[in-house]
Symmetry: C2
Subunit: 387 residues, 2 copies
Amino acid sequence: MKITDIRERSFPLDSPLRNAYIDFSQMTCSVVAVETDVLRDGKPVTGYGFNSNGRYGAGGLLRERFLPRLQAATPNDLLDESGSNLDPFKIHTCMMSNEKPGGHGERSVAVGVVDMAVWDAVAKIEERPLNRLLADRFGGDVPADERVYVYAAGGYYYPGKGLEALQDEMRGYLDLGYRDVKMKIGGASLTEDLARIEAVLDVVGKGEHLMVDANGRFDLQTAVAYAEALAPYGLKWYEEAGDPLDYDLQAALAKHYGLPMATGENLFSLQDARNLIRHGGMRPDRDWLQFDCALSYGLVEYLKILAMLRDEGWSSRRVVPHGGHQMSLNIAAGLHLGGNESYPRVFQPYGGFADDVEVVDGFVGLPDCSGIGMERKAKLYELLQTV
Amino acid sequence: MKITDIRERSFPLDSPLRNAYIDFSQMTCSVVAVETDVLRDGKPVTGYGFNSNGRYGAGGLLRERFLPRLQAATPNDLLDESGSNLDPFKIHTCMMSNEKPGGHGERSVAVGVVDMAVWDAVAKIEERPLNRLLADRFGGDVPADERVYVYAAGGYYYPGKGLEALQDEMRGYLDLGYRDVKMKIGGASLTEDLARIEAVLDVVGKGEHLMVDANGRFDLQTAVAYAEALAPYGLKWYEEAGDPLDYDLQAALAKHYGLPMATGENLFSLQDARNLIRHGGMRPDRDWLQFDCALSYGLVEYLKILAMLRDEGWSSRRVVPHGGHQMSLNIAAGLHLGGNESYPRVFQPYGGFADDVEVVDGFVGLPDCSGIGMERKAKLYELLQTV
C-alpha cells in the first residue's frame, strides 16, 4: 500500500465570538486529507484531519515543510511492519526530521493535523473505530470506554450579549443533555463576571456544574482576586488563570485556591507539559489537564505526554482535552481519559460529535464506524470532501 | 510618513553543514523589506530584516497573518508620537493582535524578522547607527560600546571532514582576528568528540578560548558524562547540553559541572526565558544566556527579556546572543551585552558584520552608518535589494 496523495486546505473559522484574548472572526482552520490506495467498500481509504479552534491553520508550514517531507519519503518507510497499513510513529519521525528542539508552536499544529488524518486512515484500513484500536494497542488490556464525560464549553463574550442571552445559551446546553457547562471570564470586570457567573448558576443549579475559563489573561494579583471571589461558588474548575507558561503563577495561585483548577490547552509538546507538572504545582487529586493533540504534534506526542503523566503519578482520568473534536473523543474513550470538551453550537462544522449520538446525562457514546467518525457528522463530511 | 510597502521572500540557506540535530541543506531564510515614503539621500528609506540560521523562514506565516495585519492598520497607528517615524512597539502590538499566549515558535520568527526591518528603518530615518539610538533610548545614560566581543562559531560536522580540516578551519578564525572559537559536539561519540576538542585546543592554545555546543541533544546521563570529560579542559563554556525546555536537566547538570555553561538560543519568548532563569539553575556569576531577537519576536520582546534579567539579578554582560547577525551586534553595543556570536564563513551572506570592520583581538567595531549596517556588507545588500 502507499499514500497516493496528501491535500490540505485552509478554511475561515468565521465566528463572531471572542474570549479574553482573541477575536475568532479572523481564525482559520487547516484540513488535511491523506489518500491511500487501500480499497474499503470499493473506495480508496482517505483519512481526514483538522486543527482545533484557538490556533490558526498551518497551511504555509504544511506546504513549505511537512508535506514535502512525506512526499519525499520512500513509501515503505511510512508503513508498519506488515506493510499493509501506515505507521503513525514513522510518519511523525519523518515530519520532524530537520526540526530543532524547542519552539513548540505553529509547527505543532501542522504535525497534529496530519497525525489526525493518519490515525483516521489507519483505523479505516483496519475497519475499526479508532477508540477501540487505541484501547487494543495502548490501553493496557482495558477495553475502550463506551461513553465519555463531556461538558459544553461556551459562554463567550460577543457584542450585545446580555445575561439573558447567556442564560438561554446555557439552558440550551442542558436541553441537549449536558450537565456541566463552561463560560469565559476575564473579558469583563470582576463585578460583571460575577454577575454573569451567578446568572449561569441560576440555570445549572450548583457550582459543581460550572467551569470558568480566563484564557490565560490574569496576572497573579488578578488571578488571586478572582480566586477569592470564586471560592464560595464551589465551581467544577477554574481554568487557565495566568499565562500558560507561567508555572510559578499557577503554583502560587494554588496556595490561594484549594478547589480544582485546570490548564494545559496552550502547551504543545511533551517538554512544555512536563514543565507544567514539574513546576506548576498542579495537584493530581483534584486538578485537570487539557492538552489537545490536534495542536500538539498529534497522538504520537500525546502518547508520550500520557506516559510522562503516569510516571509522575497522574491518573489518565485527570486529563480532559481541549478542542471538542472527535479525535480527542476517541482518545478519551480508548485511552481512558477523564472526558472531553464539547462546543455544541460553535466552531461548526468542526466541533462536536457524530450526528446520531446523543449526549445523555453529560455523557456521549461513540458511533460504531471505522476511523474517527467524521463521516457520521454530515456537515463536517461535506466540507472534508471538498479538500 | 507611512509604510508604503512590505515585501517578503524566502531564500534557501543552502549549506552543507550539519550539527547534532539538523542538516542545514534544506533550511530557508525569510527576508523582509519595509519601505517607507521618507526620503534620505534622495531615496525612500527601506528597512531590512532576516531570520537567523537554525529556524526556517516564515514566509507562510508572514503572508497569512503578520503582514496582512500591518497592511490593514491605519498608517498613523504604526507611528510614534511625533508622527515622523515608525513605532516598533505599536507595530509589535499590531502584529500580535489576535494571537493567544503560549506556543512560542515559528510566529516568533515571523515577528522577529519584521521587527528587525522596522528598527533598521527607524534608525535610518533618524540617520543614526542603530546601536547609538538604542543606547540613547534604553541604555541608561551609558553610551554604546565602541567594540563588541565576538567569537567564531563553527566546527560543524560535515561529510568527510577530518581533524586536520577542523584545525585548518579554526586556524582560519584566529587569522581573521578571533581569539575564541566554538565547535559542535554530540554528533559523534564522546571519544571522537574529545579527539576533535583536543585537536582544536592544539590550535587555540587554552581551554578558555574554546566553547563546545551540543545543540540540545543529550539526556542527563550523556550530558553528565560529557561534563566529566570536559571539566579538565577548562572550556569557556559548555552549551545547550540538553533539550532547551528541560530546565530540570540544566539545573541537575550544574551540580556536576562547576564551570560556565550557556543556553537560551531555542527559547523564543519572555515566558520561556523567564522559566530558564526560574527553573534552570543558571548561575549569574558564570553562565551565559543566548536568546536571539531574530527568532524571538524581535527587539521589542528582547527589551522585556533584558528587563526581566535585570530584575532577577543578572548583568546584561552575561547575555551573548545567538545568530551572528548585525542586529544582535547593534543590540550588544547599544544595550551593553557581553558580546555576540559570529559565523565568519558560514550562513553567508546573512552571517557576519560589515565588510570594512575587522575583528581585532576578538573584538569588532561597528560601522558609522545609519541603520543596522546591512548596506555595508556588499553581498548581503546585493541580496536584500532583490526583495
